[in-house]
Structures are given as C-alpha cells and as structure tokens.
C-alpha cells in the first residue's frame, strides 16, 4: 500500500495537526495531533471516537474548511481546500439547516450551479439524487416543511449531486430512522462500488464495522488505532449488527485511554 504513487491516494493525511484557541487569552486546545491516514479510491474510511475526538476537524480539513497547522492534507494529490481539491469533494456537514423558503429541487439546482455542473446533466442528476434520498415526492416542497431525516437526506443528495470522487460525511446517520440508515448503508456501498472514496464519522459502531474498509478510532485528537476491520478484530466481519465485537474493542480502547 505504501508503494502507491502519491496521486493515487484519494485521501492522504500526513502528520495532520490542528489546534484551536477558545478565546483571546485562552490556552490553545489540540483538536487533532499528528494524524496520518491514507485511503484509496473505492474504499470507505470510518472515523470513530467520542465527541471532541477530532473526527469533524479531520473531515473539515479534508473539505477545505480549515487549514492544517502541522503536516499535510491532500485530496487526490491536491492540497485540501484548493479549487482542484474542492471540485473532487462532496461534503455533508453535521445536522445542516438549509434555507427554509427553497424547495428541495431549488436548493439542489443552486448547488449544481455552484459546482459548474453541465446544464444538460443538472436536472437528470437532481432527480437521481432525490430518488436516492427517497425525496422524489418531496422535491417540490419547501425545506421548511422537511423533517430532520429529510433534511439529512437532502444534505446527502447535495453532497453527491456533482458526482464527486471523494465523499465526506459528518455523522450521516444523524436523524435517520432505521430505514433511512439502511438506505444510507446501501448508498455508501454503491458509491464505493463506483470507485469513489468515502470518509464518514459515526457513533454507530455496527454500521462502521459493516461498511468500512478502513477504520480509525480517535481519542482526544490522537489516532488510537487504525486498520481494516479484519485486522483490528482478528477475524471475518460479523454480519449481524449487534452485538458487535467492534463495539467491544471500542469500549476497551476508550477505557484504556481514559
């Protein structure tokens, strides 16, 4: 794996570090400390960890919403946040709130225009992503009438609308009912099958164990353990969602890390 040329990696985090300062005189808070991860096209990486472990920070760095203080963050060889990188990325923020006065279609049309999607493909693509999100009938409705789950699915739709090579999903299962989560799982598998790279953060360990080719467990900004589920769990993946051996490993790691 380490022998791949740089540009072949969909995601490269090399010693990525980021700190925040809470206020003018506050001490610096380390959000992520020297994180090194790589992901190839067609693979799914799950970022796991408790709140404040650096999952969202890592996703935002890949999306270009923040700059690394230390190390490098690359998307298909381009610095994350550059125009070239952003053209290849689709991002779903955590619990997004969209303009209430727009309809689902109007919002996706807006996003399509910003992504320089070709006009002849735009409408077809919008319908396709609405279909994937189970929002075909809700397309003409105003976003102010959408439920939390519907907004989350619309967020997914805008993230994949322009057919990005790298899909970044921050807590994609938030607000989704079990049927929605199943549809999400199906979508992630389909995207991976199309050769896209997917990075998502989640608290749903069973989901991560099922879907991911690579897992990274973060704690207080540090990478505690990373690898494929098989490597980490020492056997084939468990098919049934619960009970989860990954969950056991996770809890074990959390306990030892304090």
């Amino acid at each position: 794996m380490n022998g791949r040329a740089r540009q072949e990696w969909a995601v490269e985090l090399i010693g990525f570090g980021k700190s925040y300062r809470a206020g003018w005189s506050a001490k610096s808070l380390t959000a992520v400390e020297s994180l090194t991860l790589r992901l190839a096209s067609g693979q799914v990486l799950g970022l796991l960890g408790p709140n404040g472990s650096g999952k969202s920070t890592t996703l935002k760095a890949l999306a270009g919403l923040l700059r690394p203080e230390r190390g490098e963050v690359l998307v298909y060889g381009h610095p994350a946040g550059s125009l070239a990188a952003r053209a290849l990325v689709g991002y779903l923020p955590e619990l997004p709130q969209f303009p209430a006065h727009l309809t689902g279609r109007e919002f996706l049309l807006y996003c399509a225009g910003l992504s320089s999607l070709k006009q002849d493909r735009t409408l077809a693509r919008i319908e396709q992503t609405l279909e994937w999100g189970g929002l075909r009938d809700a397309g003409p409705r105003r976003l102010g009438t959408y439920s939390k789950g519907m907004l989350q699915r619309l967020g997914l739709a805008q993230a994949i609308l322009h057919d990005p090579a790298l899909v970044l999903l921050d807590e994609p299962a938030s607000g989704l009912d079990p049927a929605g989560r199943l549809a999400l799982n199906r979508l992630i598998r389909d995207l991976a099958a199309q050769g896209k790279a997917i990075v998502f953060s989640s608290h749903l360990l069973a989901q991560a164990e099922q879907l991911c080719d690579q897992l990274a467990i973060l704690g207080r900004g540090r990478l505690l353990v990373a690898g494929s589920p098989a490597d980490l769990l020492g056997s084939a993946r468990v098919e049934s969602p619960e009970p989860s051996r990954l969950e056991q490993l996770y809890l074990e790691k959390m306990g030892s890390h304090g």
Binding site: A63, L65, R86, L88, P93, F98, G155
Partner: protein, 263 residues
C-alpha cells in the same frame, strides 16, 4: 464527475450571480425587510399630515426630505441588519459549508452576498422612491405654484442607495471575522456613524486617520432634491466613482479576511 472549475471569468461571474440571487431571495423573505419597509412607508405616508401646517409649496420640500430621510435611515438599518443576518444564518446553519466546500472562491461568495444585499436595498429604494413620487405628485397638483423635480428626485434616491450599500459593505467587512450577527450589525451601524463624522475631520490632527474611511456626507440626497437645477454630471460621476472605489475596497477586505477564516 463534475467539470473542473477553471471556467475563468464567466464561471466566476456565474457563481457570483448564483450566490447573489440566492442572497436576494432570502433577503426578500426576511421579516426584517417587511418590517422596515412598512415602517419606512408609514413615515413617508405620514408626511401627508404636513398639510395641516399650510406651508404652501414648501410642503413638497418637507415631503421629499422625510421620504429621503426614511430611505436613508431605514435603509441604513436594513443594510446593516440584513447583511449580518443573511451572512450568519448560513454560517451558523452550516448551509454555507455546502457552498464553501464546492469550487466557489471566497471572494465570489462575498461579492455575491454584497450584490444580493445591494439588490435588496435597490428594491427598497425604488419602492420608497415611487411612494414619495406619488405623494409629491398628489400634493403638487393640489398646491399652487408647486413644481417637482423628477430627475432630481430620482438622482436623490440613487444617492441614498449608494450610501446605504456602502453601509452594507462596511458590515460585510465586519461579518468576515465576527462571531455573531449582533456584533456585526452593531459594528456596521457604528462604522456608518463614523462615516458621517468623517466630514468633521480637518487636516492632520489626532483623528486624521478617519480620512481613510468613506465620507457618507458626500451622498447628500436632500441637497440634490432641494437644488434649483438638476444635479451636474460631475456630481453624479464623482459619487458613482467614489462609491465604486469603496465598494471594491470593502469587498476586497472582506474577501481577504474571509479567506483566512476557518470553520
């Protein structure tokens, strides 16, 4: 896969236009817009009460002044409050992340925000201007010897629009680094006051540095309306050029600061 966004100027223009139209659409749905529009209209219509004073043809001056004052005053409030609210609602709701993670340059986003708000202020100014014109027409017909300078009125309204859009620009600069809509709108209004105080500053002295700030007193709409002759081309060109320089400066500063901003 989507096209790589090299697009050049036409793609930049398209993205900026999209953000501007989106911003204008949101702005027109703000309760704030409706509220300030209604209050402004009420102030203008309230000028009809001046009939009681029997000023004669001078009443038209008062109607014009009240109308332009309403555009200036409520327009300034709208410029600062709407700019801040539109900016922060997207940031805090994270809808802005869906835009900024796309191949949209930060300056395109800021320019689009400014143009969207400028569009809102233009609609506000035109609506109020038409209302003032209607009142002036009605009273001019009723008062003997009363004449309305329609060109002067249109130019005066345009001057007020130029002034309030610069207030929006100032607020946008604050938005680029501020943490809340409240701070940004308050700071925007204070900066508008500084811009009016600018005309007090003499050469040199402790406060000479204020001279880098635009002088909003130059956009003197009431004088344009009150003058016996239509405004000169030099006045109009000078105001437009002055406005253009500072509008570009504010968008530039806001874009530069916003470029450094992290989420």
């Amino acid at each position: 896969m989507a096209e790589f966004p090299h697009g050049g100027p036409s793609a930049s223009f398209r993205r900026t236009r999209l953000v501007a139209l989106h911003t204008l659409g949101e702005a027109l749905r703000l309760r704030l817009t409706a509220l300030l529009g209604m209050i402004g209209a009420a102030v203008v219509v309230g000028a009809l009460a001046l009939r009681e004073f029997n000023f004669g043809s001078a009443e038209l001056k008062f109607i014009g002044d009240f109308g332009l004052g309403a555009i200036g005053g409520f327009g300034t409030l709208l410029a600062a409050l709407a700019t801040a609210q539109l900016f922060f609602s997207e940031i805090q709701g994270r809808a802005a992340y869906c835009v900024l993670t796309r191949p949209v340059r930060r300056w395109e986003y800021m320019a689009g925000k400014f143009i969207g708000v400028a569009g809102l202020l233009a609609l506000f100014t035109v609506a109020m201007g038409l209302l003032i014109a209607a009142l002036l027409a009605v009273r001019a017909a009723q008062l003997e010897g009363a004449v309305v300078g329609w060109t002067a009125l249109a130019c005066a309204c345009a001057m007020q629009w130029l002034k309030v859009t610069l207030v929006a620009g100032m607020t946008l600069v604050v938005c680029s680094y501020a943490g809340s809509a409240l701070f940004a709108s308050g700071a925007g209004l204070i900066l508008a006051v500084v811009a009016h105080l600018r005309s007090f500053v003499g050469e040199g002295g402790r406060f000479g540095w204020i001279k880098v700030w635009p002088n909003l007193a130059l956009f003197d709409a009431e004088s344009v309306l009150a003058a016996t002759h239509p405004p000169s081309a030099s006045l109009l060109l000078g105001c437009a050029g002055y406005w253009a320089v500072y509008a570009l400066v504010f968008i530039g500063i806001a874009s530069y600061v916003f470029e450094q901003r992290e989420f």
